[in-house]
Symmetry: C2
């Protein structure tokens, strides 16, 4: 475990078209980690909108970020544009090289993959993009939270809350994570058992897949371009 | 159920010092309810900061809101200031009178109480403020989600996700809610069983209570003032 008296710099990447709860779920945890500073970084300091329009303003631009101890990369449709944005990819590479830990949520994993950071790594992402992980050289693991070395991957969207609590426990011990969980009253009671492709009703799954068919095709095309760039051979 | 072909106006109240996930948890659901418009309303149109600094900008000011079909009132420490803010309380009263449903999350219930809307109503709120519900004439119910007539109350913080999914099902049917749950990959796996005062370790609960003792005292004093104003007799 990292020394308890070391003050931690924790940062999340914020971008246009983020799926806001990939950020705001972990935010509730990361902002409460003892002896730490938590900030949101955008490509610029300007306000962005999440994919459903939530207006969030970062604390600073990535160029002004210190070396982070914990780097958090959320996902959401806007991840597509980031995957060929060399400024952002370069920042992620540089931060990841010096970070104590990297925390990927949802399709944030695709961005980390595009940065060339997932080769040989056990990883997960949103179920709708899970089949794309091999394009980045990653080993897909169908679990809600996957830990590989100093990386933590949370699967889709709300899995970020579970991943962030795991991260808090890694950093500051179980009791610190439990106190955050108590504050958040995180004792979930989902009204349905429809949170995964394995448990959702077949027609709900089929309709959901149809509704995201266009973005899934786009993500596949992007993944193929990235695989070629990274010299990853997809049979 | 409300007619499926009726376009719904859904609105959340955004304010300085909100606990952001009281808003952003439900946001992920409310922004995906079929045939609806979802907007955030602030006392002004200006950016506010959540109690840990997240910068969120509303879509419009409350004065510019249409009559809402669904009114969502989140909580967080900033709720204290709202409880004696006649402009906001008046807006809540007026909206609640014409709304199809009202959705209170966390200490948002105290604000609704201060608006005089909880008399005789079964309600819940964050565990640390649960004992204050009688000051507003409410009947405290220690459940994660409480439905009373056209009101839905979610207990603390992340309970808003469960409450919002219940609301989505009420409004647009179970399958619509299940599709949203699948998108959100809401199949939670909390790493600890520490999300309620009943399950958290005793020392974690004691430390958490100590850390919020000052705001709890302040909330008690405010509740007493409101009770006097509402002519509610607390024995």
């Amino acid at each position: 475990m990292i020394p308890q008296d070391k003050h931690l710099q924790i940062g999340s990447l914020l971008f246009e078209g983020i799926d806001q709860i990939d950020l705001t779920g972990p935010f509730e945890v990361l902002a409460r980690i003892p002896n730490s500073t938590y900030r949101l970084y955008g490509q610029t300091g300007d306000m962005v909108r999440d994919l459903k329009g939530l207006r969030i303003t970062p604390d600073a631009a990535i160029a002004d970020a210190p070396q982070l101890d914990i780097l958090h990369i959320p996902g959401g449709r806007g991840q597509e544009a980031l995957m060929e944005n060399e400024e952002v990819l370069g920042w992620i590479r540089q931060q990841a090289a010096g970070a104590h830990g990297i925390f990927s949520v949802c399709t944030g994993a695709l961005v980390c993959g595009a940065a060339g950071l997932l080769k040989g790594r056990r990883a997960t992402t949103h179920w709708a993009s899970f089949h794309l992980l091999p394009y980045f050289g990653a080993i897909p693991v169908n679990e809600r939270v996957v830990v590989d070395g100093n990386w933590i991957f949370a699967a889709g969207v709300t899995a970020g809350i579970d991943g962030a609590l795991r991260l808090a426990a890694e950093l500051r011990g179980d009791d610190a994570a439990k106190a955050i969980q108590l504050h958040m009253v995180y004792a979930p009671e989902p009204p349905f058992d429809s949170g995964t492709p394995e448990t959702a009703p077949a027609d709900v799954l089929a309709q959901t897949k149809a509704s995201i068919a266009a973005i899934t095709l786009q993500r596949e095309a992007t993944a193929r371009r990235i695989a070629a760039k990274l010299n990853i051979d997809i049979a």
